[in-house]
Amino acid sequence: MNGFAPFMRALSAVVWKDLRAEWRSRELLSAMLVFALLVILIFNFALELESTVRANVTAGVLWVTFTFAGQLGLNRSMAVEKDRGCLDGLLLAPVDRAAIYLGKTLANWVFMLLVAVIVLPIYSVLYNTNLFIPGLLLTILLGSEGYVAVGTLLSSMAVQARTRDILLPILLFPVAIPVVIAAVKATGGYLQGLDITEILPWLNLLITYDVVFTAVAFMVFDSVVEE
């Protein structure tokens, strides 16, 4: 228990700092939201969906929106640390660096969920589809956690490079494929009213991905950020 209190104090300090700074600037959230809404609108006009097709494509459209908007947020969240040398400031602190990683991940997760909270009702109205299904909301929680867990780690790697804006999606999307597939399948299952037994394997995959990638990122973050 000796190291737990300092770990939690550092973790909460990082989350507090990220949320506070974002509350002031609203840079990251506004960029993610505008982008997400634009994607939804473009799909709405481009596909001119009939009601029968909607249930099939909604899951895909939603997760394309979340992953691309999330990627914008991940990039920005680490760029803020790097540009003013704050990443060095974080790394100089005498704390377990895993606490820094978890703090950044939690803050990124909150941002992604805030985007989902705003996107879901708008999508529901535009596409006349009910998205407020408890299982679907759970899928969004699990899918976005896996995505930001791996995304936060990779963005801390990409931020060291000059081509960080290009590098992050190249690194992130291949690694995030399992979580995106599982999230799309589970979301689609709920929208089509499939039986839970058909959705459960995808939820299990999401949970496994979340646990494995959060644990791996937790362990390797220190080496990734070290020069």
């Binding site: 002031r24 003013r84 704050c86 100089l92 070290e226 020069e227």
Partner: protein, 249 residues
């Protein structure tokens, strides 16, 4: 006197490029050392190794009795670092920045310590203003406040005067003198010889990846620090030429 920083045969390579070569360095407790040298000499790399941000390739480094990189967390607790970047969050106020770093360093009685530090760097009346509204000089003073918040034994400064105008430099120097007066050990890299001469008690010249010369303030000859610096660099150039000639033979 006891050594608070001890570096022996330090080598740092980035791929095939050798930046630091067999560097030896020793600082006694309470000394204010100015590390001088031309661009590309390895000053920043050396400070990054001392601050545990970079790993040495070879050699031993110890700060406050703890060796790097193995006891990095213990070293970090005893270090304050100021670089030419402020390491501050522009969207947080001055006191929020200190609050954040104070929590990261587990500073006792943080609120009182923040008041003390803000007073020390002359920013009490701007404590609630966002850092992005600060001038470069004010940001650098707050950066010093951030670095000394946890009362570190050693302060590492990497070209802290970069980008500051005359007045801002004077205010920064006043803040640094206050830090030095309180008995902390300071290692500062600088290109500004006159400011270094005013502040430091010892001057080391780093060139070609190693310390080429070291002199105490009282031992500087009549031609001043500039004269000593030029002579040391000239000597190091001649030595390098001789080595090359010998190697060619």
């Amino acid at each position: 006197m006891t050594a608070i920083i001890e570096v022996s045969r330090l080598v740092k390579r980035f791929g095939p490029k050798v930046v630091l070569r067999q560097l030896d360095f020793r600082v006694e407790t309470g000394e204010f050392v100015a590390l001088l040298g031309p661009n590309g000499a390895g000053k920043t790399t050396f400070l990054r190794i001392l601050s545990s941000l970079s790993r040495p390739t070879l050699g031993s480094v110890s700060v406050a009795g703890y060796s790097l990189p193995h006891q990095a967390a213990s070293v970090r607790r005893r270090l304050g670092v100021v670089s030419h970047l402020p390491l501050l969050y522009g969207d947080l106020s001055a006191e929020e920045n200190l609050l954040f770093y104070g929590r990261m360093y587990a500073v006792d009685k943080l609120s009182g310590r923040m008041d003390e530090v803000l007073e020390q760097v002359g920013l009490t009346n701007r404590r609630r203003d966002l850092v992005r509204t600060f001038s470069r000089g004010m940001q650098q003073r707050l950066a010093i406040g951030r670095a000394i918040l946890h009362d570190p034994e050693v302060l590492l400064l990497d070209e802290p005067h970069t980008g500051l105008d005359q007045d801002a430099c004077d205010m920064l120097d006043a803040a640094l003198r206050q830090v030095a007066v309180r008995g902390r050990t300071v290692v500062m890299t600088s290109h500004d010889l006159s400011r270094a001469e005013d502040l430091a008690s010892r001057f080391d010249v780093l060139a070609r990846g190693t310390i080429q010369g070291s002199v105490q303030r009282q031992d500087i000859a009549r031609d001043g620090l500039l004269g000593y610096y030029r002579k040391t660099l000239e000597l190091s150039q001649n030595n390098a030429k001789n080595h090359k000639a010998e190697a060619a033979r």
